[in-house]
């Protein structure tokens, strides 16, 4: 019970101190809107293309929203030593890191709904299988956050975390099937697509939003969940190894 008081308090504090600040809220709104507009204009097609663009825009909104935040909530706090306060609290490291990532996951989920709300006004979403979309959004948010966590605990400075994040994020836009199927990626590059959890999350969204998934949905769910577990435990191991000397 005491550990859960600490857990919720960390989530609340991060939301209050970082996520609910005007720059983050505006970033969370403007970024997905900009991506939606950009791909819609570029596609040159009518409003019917929104359904095919929506999975990619949802995924990119989550990816950028979550990974950017971890550099602040973890790397920045590590540098100003306030993270030590958390490491010294009688709360297990696993629960502590779940609390630190909880806010980012929630932020990612909220970001995902910005393009969905816009799409609601522009097209008919009646055929969308929401019962599949919702867990997919949550899993993409979790896997992207844990990828951000892995990056945040692998570097020492905030700028390094942001640079390193871009090293992953921008290739992921093109390799994970966000706006064109991975079958159209050159054969040589295609194996890389399968190394990113986002590929599986986006495939679920494509299936649930316009019925064009490549792999089976249960397999996608299993793989992305596996990625979440691996990324989290590698991050925890790195914290043990690098921060508790």
């Amino acid at each position: 019970m005491k550990q859960w008081i600490a857990f919720w308090s960390i989530v609340r504090k991060d939301m209050q101190a970082y996520y609910l600040k005007p720059p983050n809220i505006s970033w969370g709104l403007i970024f997905p809107v900009a991506w939606t507009g950009m791909f819609f204009i570029k596609s040159g097609s009518g409003l019917e293309s929104i359904l095919t663009l929506l999975p990619g825009v949802i995924a990119i909104s989550i990816l950028f929203g979550t990974t950017s935040m971890l550099a602040v909530t973890v790397t920045f706090e590590k540098n100003n030593r306030s993270f030590e306060r958390l490491l010294l609290a009688p709360i297990s490291l696993e629960l502590l890191m779940l609390a630190k990532t909880g806010g980012a996951i929630l932020f990612g989920v909220v970001n995902a709904f910005v393009p969905i709300i816009f799409a609601l006004f522009l097209t008919d979403l009646s055929q969308v299988v929401w019962i599949t979309v919702l867990p997919a959004i949550v899993l993409i948010a979790i896997s992207s956050t844990f990828l951000g966590l892995l990056i945040a605990v692998s570097v020492n400075e905030v700028f390094e975390a942001q640079t390193f994040s871009n090293f992953f994020r921008f290739p992921m836009i093109f390799l994970c099937g966000l706006f064109f199927p991975i079958t159209s990626i050159p054969t040589l590059l295609r194996p890389l697509s399968y190394l990113f959890p986002l590929t599986y999350g986006v495939d679920i969204l494509h299936g649930a939003i316009h019925g064009k998934n490549i792999m089976s949905l249960p397999l996608n769910f299993a793989i992305i969940a596996g990625f979440c577990i691996i990324l989290f435990y590698v991050s925890i191991r790195n914290i043990h190894r690098k921060w508790i000397l």
Partner: protein, 336 residues
């Protein structure tokens, strides 16, 4: 009188709350902590004194679970913290050498947050935060952001955060370094109050006067090794039996040392500075003939005062290190 008795005869050793033996920690080729061992009794104010880089912070980090020892055993309230640090962390409060609260939160919110980290219920945390803000004279700044606090206020709030959950043991790492005299005095007073209220305090400092004034027992740490652990009274005893005076001159006079040593063979003379000479003797120092002799040499004496035996002298005698000069360097570095 009670304080005097407790200083000469520590009563806590039979009831140790912290037990450390053969503790070693290495960073690559550097041995930061080299096989140290000590105990701290329940309710004791234990000082850990040493120059910068002696291994004080590393020891605190190991004792609190922020670093892992390479070897050795640590028991806190009977719990093995080297194997399971989380088990004992609810008993511990920590005030690090740098104020590390959240700059974007107010003083009040910082305290409530720190309380919740130890599982304190929200309503209880609010009451305790208000109580501490009042006690630490920070009530008026309660709703200001921590980033806007002065150094002294930051330090006080960091100490308040360290005790918000009523810990049995409080680790204080250099609590008065880099802050103004008034705040430092207030912090020392608060530390003494905490100990009177029953909290076991583990204090690291390079301010020897601070340790002497507050602590019951002191460990001298040099290059990762404890060179001496004893009560303040026992540490002072050998030098208390000797008498010492400091003679100051107008426009120099330290060159008189050799002549003084020849004329007064029962006394020992040491040049302190261009204008100061220290006189030491096993018996009472007869100041009249000394001053007359000096003035006959054409040097005017401006002051002659008896020196009280201090722990700094003991430290210098044991370790050969001028501790406060190291402290001043550290402060300069922090200030810049």
């Amino acid at each position: 009188m009670v304080a005097q008795i407790s200083k000469t005869m520590p009563t806590h050793e039979n009831n140790p709350l912290i037990e450390v033996s053969e503790l070693t920690k290495r960073f690559d080729d550097v041995i930061a902590v080299d096989g140290i061992g000590f105990t701290v009794g329940k309710g004791e104010l234990f000082g850990f004194l040493g120059p910068n880089g002696a291994g004080k912070t590393t020891t605190i980090n190991i004792l609190t679970g922020l670093a892992r020892p390479d070897s050795g055993a640590i028991r806190i309230s009977g719990l093995d913290i080297s194997r399971n640090p989380k088990a004992a962390q609810h008993l511990i409060g920590i005030v690090p050498d740098e104020s590390n609260l959240y700059p974007e939160l107010t003083g009040f919110d910082n305290l409530c947050f720190c309380a919740s980290l130890y599982g304190v219920q929200k309503s209880e945390g609010i009451v305790r935060a208000k109580e501490l803000l009042e006690q630490f004279d920070l009530k008026e700044a309660a709703h200001r952001k921590f980033a806007g606090y002065s150094k002294g206020m930051k330090r006080k709030l960091t100490i308040a955060a360290g005790i918000i959950h009523h810990p049995e043991i409080l680790f204080l790492d250099e609590p008065t370094t880099g802050i103004d005299v008034a705040s430092a005095r207030q912090i020392r007073h608060l530390i003494a109050e905490l100990q009177r209220a029953g909290t076991t305090v583990f204090l690291t400092t390079h301010y020897i006067e601070e340790a002497e004034r507050l602590c019951e027992r002191i460990a001298f740490l040099v290059k990762g090794q404890i060179v001496r652990v004893d009560s303040v009274a026992n540490l002072l005893q050998p030098i208390q039996e000797r008498k010492a005076m400091l003679i100051s001159f107008l426009n120099g006079g330290s060159d008189l040392c050799d002549k003084l040593a020849v004329t007064f063979p029962d006394y020992e003379f040491q040049t302190i500075s261009f204008e100061q000479v220290r006189v030491e003797s096993a018996d009472i120092i007869n100041i009249g003939p000394l001053i007359r002799f000096i003035e006959e040499q054409g040097t005017q004496v401006t002051e002659a005062r008896r020196l009280k035996p201090s722990l700094e002298e003991v430290f210098v005698r044991i370790t050969g290190i001028e501790l406060n000069s190291v402290g001043r360097e550290k402060e300069k570095a922090k200030g810049s």
